[in-house]
Symmetry: C2
Subunit: 287 residues, 2 copies
């Protein structure tokens, strides 16, 4: 049993349509409010060596990234902190606050709890004009497949490349890019926090098309042997880049940096250089 | 160090005004959206003997209660579940779903995580007309002090009175009552989840008045010796009644059941029969 299989249990209770996107959508005046929640905790998510400030930063960043991936503007964050020792609180809160401030959001509420393991749950609220909202659905055959930044850097640090520590410990959500992509008409979008491969399989599962990547176009972390670098970029977790599809007539987009790594195809598969991409990446496994 | 002292650490970082009410407020069209998040987990909150379904129910109920205490209508719930074993998931989700359905809300999103200890974080969103919003502030000298239901029942179960198990395991948030009280002009309101005593001290800290209770008017759980029953009602935790102040000309209110237990006074104290109420109730203590 993995996370995605477990999600089908939830779909059976709350409805499949509630489980398809990075955020839920609710009407808010003449805009859409997007809402998302993420649980992180010491054993699974906070790597040895992270400071309290970085733990707070990351906790906010992952949620702001979900908002960015809908094309929305992050506005508000709630943070529930379960603490094994109260001395962590100030650092965690300051990190979350600084991340919110950098990306234009504000902490408006939260909860504090005593807990056996440091656990942080952030809930983010963002706003977007309904015409600029981007969902996971919407990709069309012939669209370009694109990604912001250089994927694989967070996993590189996990695999021992210490020069990539900042990518793992202080992820930078693509807030400006997400909104820009919404305004110019990206057709589908999500963040690649579980890796490019799993993200594309998630997109295949909700779209009527597949994805064909070109390995020569895939940006990879520098200073790492080519084969390993490509492995990190395709299958590594912990990045918060945006992976999106774009009608070819919208390309190139001024004002943001991204790379075209392939195109959508009519067959519902994920391939690179014509060969299947493995369906693996960052997932919890359940006994 | 207790919860309320720890909150001052947070106030220093995010601002005191973010920490005063049961919910945060954000503008939403011509209404106010109230938002709140609560972390519950096995060791501290889920009592031995609770079913997975009851754990899910309680997790939703505590958050719906916060929304009710602002006079708002609960609309949406997000639920992040940290599981030590995936077999708990369906029961927890069904309990949360059933609680939401009963009180008019819908689960719209969430997160699933593997965790050493069953941990559930619910975030609730509600809507209220700005003229019907009720905050913790707003109590005036001369107002009546009132409470819904019979306080002390959840604590009675914790103290061994098994006939009160349902009060502890399946709390019923006062959703209808909260909205009704907002419409008819309650001046201040919160829920009494940490007990009446601590709730009134919370209200004293943000209002320019105090509270004088009359012990003969205090409803207490039946079937328990009088002294103990009063102790449970004043200091017991785990209830989700609404404690509110009401301008006397608004009393009585048709359509909901509540008890007048005292009145506000100009001095910033909490007394019962003229003697100080102790400042104690349900709180975590931190080393």
């Amino acid at each position: 049993m993995d996370d995605r299989e477990l999600l089908t249990v939830v779909m059976g209770i709350v409805g499949k349509e509630k489980c398809l996107d990075d955020c839920a959508e609710v009407p808010c005046g003449d805009q859409i409010m997007v809402v998302t929640t993420d649980m992180l905790h010491r054993t699974t998510d906070f790597v040895e060596g992270m400071s309290d400030w970085q733990i707070g930063w990351m906790s906010a960043a992952v949620t702001l990234s979900d908002i960015a991936s809908m094309g929305a503007e992050p506005k508000y964050l709630l943070i529930a902190v379960g603490l094994d020792t109260w001395q962590n609180l100030a650092g965690v809160m300051q990190g979350a606050q600084d991340c919110c401030t950098k990306f234009g959001a504000a902490i408006i509420g939260g909860d504090i709890d005593r807990h056996g393991e440091l656990t942080v749950v952030t809930t983010g609220l963002g706003l977007v004009d309904k015409h600029h909202l981007v969902r996971r659905t919407g990709a069309q055959p012939g669209d370009l497949v694109c990604i912001t930044g250089i994927p694989g850097q967070a996993q590189a640090r996990l695999d021992g490349y210490v020069q990539y520590e900042k990518a793992l410990f202080e992820p930078q959500p693509r807030v400006k890019e997400g909104q820009h992509l919404g305004r110019v008409g990206a057709s589908a979008m999500m963040d690649d926090s579980d890796g490019i491969a799993l993200s594309l399989y998630d997109l295949v599962s909700v779209n009527e098309c597949g994805f064909s990547l070109d390995s020569t176009k895939l940006p990879v972390p520098a200073g790492i042997p080519a084969n390993q670098a490509r492995e990190l970029a395709l299958y590594g977790g912990g990045d918060y880049e945006l992976i999106f599809t774009l009608p070819p007539q919208r390309h190139p987009i001024d004002g943001i940096s991204y790379t075209v790594i392939g195109s959508t195809i009519s067959e519902k598969v994920v391939v690179i250089d014509g060969r299947p991409v493995e369906k693996r990446g960052y997932q919890h496994l359940w006994e």
